[in-house]
Symmetry: C2
Subunit: 371 residues, 2 copies
C-alpha cells in the first residue's frame, strides 16, 4: 500500500446505482466522509479510531439522533436506538421483547420479508397471520376489511415496503390500542410519516439511512421493559435504551455516516422534499413502463412501491442484453432479485432524478432497438 | 456540505492514539480506504454502496477471510464468521450454541470482561467458575493447578487478555477434549497462535482488526449444529457458516476495512513480525515504568498485557496535568478506564514503536518536572 497524500476524486466517474441494498449514498456525504477519514475536525484521528465514550464521538452520535428526530418529528416518548444485526435480527428481537410466552401476535404477509419475520416470530410464540397478499399473487395488499385480527394481540407487525416484490402500503393500519410494529427498512425517510401511530418502527440502515451493519429502532417508551427472561442482554431494548445504544461498543462509523446522511437530508429540505422528489422519480419510471407495451410491472396501482420498481421485458431472452447495455452506460444493479427475475430499479433517496431520467432514456432506446 | 473534489491529507497532523477501542488503525489502511471511498477500483461506486452478493463484494469478503486464514494458519476444519453485535453478543451466543440446557460450562474469571461473559452465560445454563483471579486482586492469573474443572463441561471459556485490568494469559489452558473457547478481542493477531488448540475463538474487531460493529468468530466445524431450539436464527453459528456470514446483509464496510488491515499485516511480515514489534513496544513501556519510582503497574510480571498497559502516577492529583500535557503533545486517550482510574496505554498492532517512544519520552519529562 503506497502512501497517498493527495486524492483526486473524479466525480464524473460515479455510476448511477440502482442497487436494492447496500444502496447508493449521497455523493456529498461520501465526499465529507472522505475528507475527514484520517483526521476528523483536526483531532488527528479518524472517527473509526475514536472511543465511543469520548466527548467528540458522543456529540456525533447525539447529533445524528437529534437530526433523525427532527426529520421525522419523533415525539419525546419514543427512544431511538442504533443497534446491530440488521432487520433480520429484529425479527427475533421483536417477539423476545414484546410477545409474552402465552400471547399472540398478528402479522401481515405481503412478501418475502414479511414472511421471514413471520417464520422467525413463530419460533418464539403464537403468530396469527391476520392477512396475506398470497391470494393476490403478491400483486396487491388486502384491504383491512379482509384482515382477521386476534382479540388480544401483543402487537401487529407488517412491512411497509417489500423490497423484492415492489409492494408498498400507502396507508397505515388501524388497530386501536394494539401496538403497531413496522419494518420500514426500505422506505423510512422517503416520505412523510406520523411516528405517533406506531409502537415500534425499525429499519436496516443500508437502503435509506447509511451503511449496512446498523439498524435503527424507534420505540415507544411504554413498550420497554417487557422482554422475556430468555432474551439475550444485547437483544433487550430496555438495556439498549438505558445505555444510549452503548451497552457495548456500537457500530460507530456506520452511526456517524448515517448522521451525515441525516444532515444531508435536512439540507435537501427534509422528508417533505424527499417525498416530492421520490414522487417525481416513481411517476417518471412507472409512467415509462405503463406507456410501453414492452415493459410491464404487475403490481396494482395503489400498492406500487416508490422505492423498488420491478419490471419485466416483453421477452426474457432480452434480459441479458438489457443489463449489458445498462452496465455500459453506468446504470448499475438493475437485475431483479433471483427469486423474482426480470429487472428491479431501487430508487431510494440518494438516487437522483437524473439517474431515473438516464434509466428511462435507456429503456426507450432499448425498446426502439429490440421492441 | 460543499463538494470537495480535492482532498489534502496532512499526515503530520495524525495523533498517537492509545485508545482501548475503537482503537488506532494503520494509516496506510485509512489512506487506501480514503482513496477508493467514492469509486472502488474504477467501478463508479463505494464499497458501502455495493450489494453484498455482487461479484466484486464477494471477492473482497473472500480475500479478507483468506488473508486472515493465512495470517493465523487457520486449519481447514474451522469456519471463519464475520458477524455483528460485538463480543458482548457472543457472551450469549456461545451458551445458546454450545451449552446444552442441562449441561455445565467452565469459566475462568480474570477481570471485568470475563465476569460479563460469566453473568450472561449464567442466564442460559449452569456455569462453574473454575478459577478466579479475585484471590490475587486481579493482579495475577491462577495457575491451572488451582483450577476446579467440571467433569463434563460443554466447554471452557476464558479471556486471553483483559483490556481494563491489563492482564493477559501467556499460556493456553490444557483441558483435554473439552472445547476451549476464548475471547481474544484485544490480542488476536498480536502474537503467534496455535488455532488448533481451540474450539472457538472470537474477537470484537475494534482493537486489532478493524472498525467496530464487526466480530470475528473462528469455530471448529464439529461444534456447529448444536444450537438450542430457542436460539435466534441470527445468533446461530451453523446458519451463519452455511451462508458464508451472509444470511442477511453483513457489515460490509467493516468487513472490507478489516480485509485491508489483514493485507497490511501480511505486508508487515504477518503475525511473527507483529509479535517482535509488540514485544519491543511492551518491553520499552514496562521498562520505563519499572525503572521509575514515579510510575507503577501492579500486574505480576508473567501476566502483564502486551496490549493494554495500565499505570499509575505517584500522586493521583497529577493525573489531570499528565493527561493535559499528553494531549498537548498529541498523545491521546491515555486515561484509564473509569472503574480502575490512573492511566492506560493501549498499544495494539497499529500503534507504532514511534508512538511508544514518544510516550516514554513524555513520561520521563513529566517525572522530571513533577517527580
Amino acid at each position: 500500500m503506497p502512501p497517498l497524500y493527495l486524492v483526486r476524486v473524479d466525480v464524473s466517474k460515479r455510476a448511477f446505482n440502482f442497487c436494492a441494498g447496500p444502496a447508493a449514498l449521497p455523493e456529498a456525504v461520501l465526499q465529507r466522509a472522505q475528507a475527514e477519514l484520517l483526521d476528523w475536525q483536526g483531532k488527528g484521528l479518524s472517527v473509526m479510531e475514536m472511543s465511543h465514550r469520548s466527548d467528540e464521538y458522543v456529540a456525533i452520535a447525539e447529533k445524528a439522533e437529534q437530526d433523525l428526530r427532527d426529520l421525522l418529528s419523533i415525539p419525546n416518548n419514543y427512544k431511538v436506538l442504533f443497534l446491530q444485526g440488521g432487520a433480520s435480527q429484529q425479527f427475533a428481537e421483536i417477539p423476545l421483547n414484546l410477545l409474552p410466552e402465552n400471547g399472540v401476535a398478528d402479522y401481515v404477509d405481503t412478501g418475502i420479508w414479511s414472511k421471514k419475520s413471520i417464520d422467525e416470530a413463530s419460533r418464539f410464540g403464537r403468530v396469527n397471520v391476520a392477512a396475506s397478499a398470497k391470494g393476490y399473487d403478491y400483486f396487491a395488499i388486502p384491504g383491512q376489511n379482509e384482515w382477521q385480527l386476534s382479540k388480544d394481540a401483543a402487537y401487529l407487525h407488517y412491512a411497509s415496503n417489500e423490497t423484492i416484490g415492489g409492494l408498498q402500503f400507502d396507508w397505515i393500519p388501524e388497530v386501536g390500542d394494539v401496538p403497531l410494529v413496522v419494518d420500514m427498512s426500505s422506505d423510512i425517510l422517503s416520505r412523510s410519516l406520523d411516528v405517533s401511530r406506531f409502537g415500534l418502527i425499525y429499519a436496516g440502515a443500508q437502503k435509506n439511512i447509511g451503511p449496512s451493519g446498523l439498524v435503527v429502532v424507534i420505540v415507544r417508551e411504554d413498550l420497554l421493559g417487557r422482554a422475556r427472561a430468555s432474551c439475550p442482554t444485547m437483544l433487550n431494548y430496555k438495556i439498549a435504551a438505558d445505555n444510549g445504544s452503548m451497552y457495548n461498543t456500537p457500530a460507530t462509523f456506520s452511526w456517524y455516516l448515517s448522521g451525515l446522511v441525516f444532515e444531508w437530508l435536512k439540507e435537501q429540505g427534509g422528508v417533505a422534499a424527499m417525498e416530492r422528489l421520490n414522487k417525481a422519480k416513481k411517476d417518471l419510471l412507472y409512467g415509462a413502463i405503463d406507456k410501453s407495451d414492452f415493459y410491464t410491472n404487475p403490481i396494482s396501482i395503489n400498492a406500487r412501491s416508490w422505492m423498488n420498481v420491478p419490471f419485466r421485458l416483453a421477452d426474457e431472452r432480452l434480459d441479458k442484453p438489457f443489463l449489458a447495455g445498462a452496465d455500459a452506460r453506468g446504470l448499475l444493479n438493475l437485475k431483479g432479485h433471483r427469486s423474482v427475475g426480470g429487472m428491479r430499479a431501487s430508487i431510494y433517496n440518494a438516487v437522483g432524478l437524473d439517474a431515473v431520467e438516464a434509466l428511462v432514456a435507456y429503456m426507450a432506446e432499448f425498446e426502439k432497438e429490440h421492441g
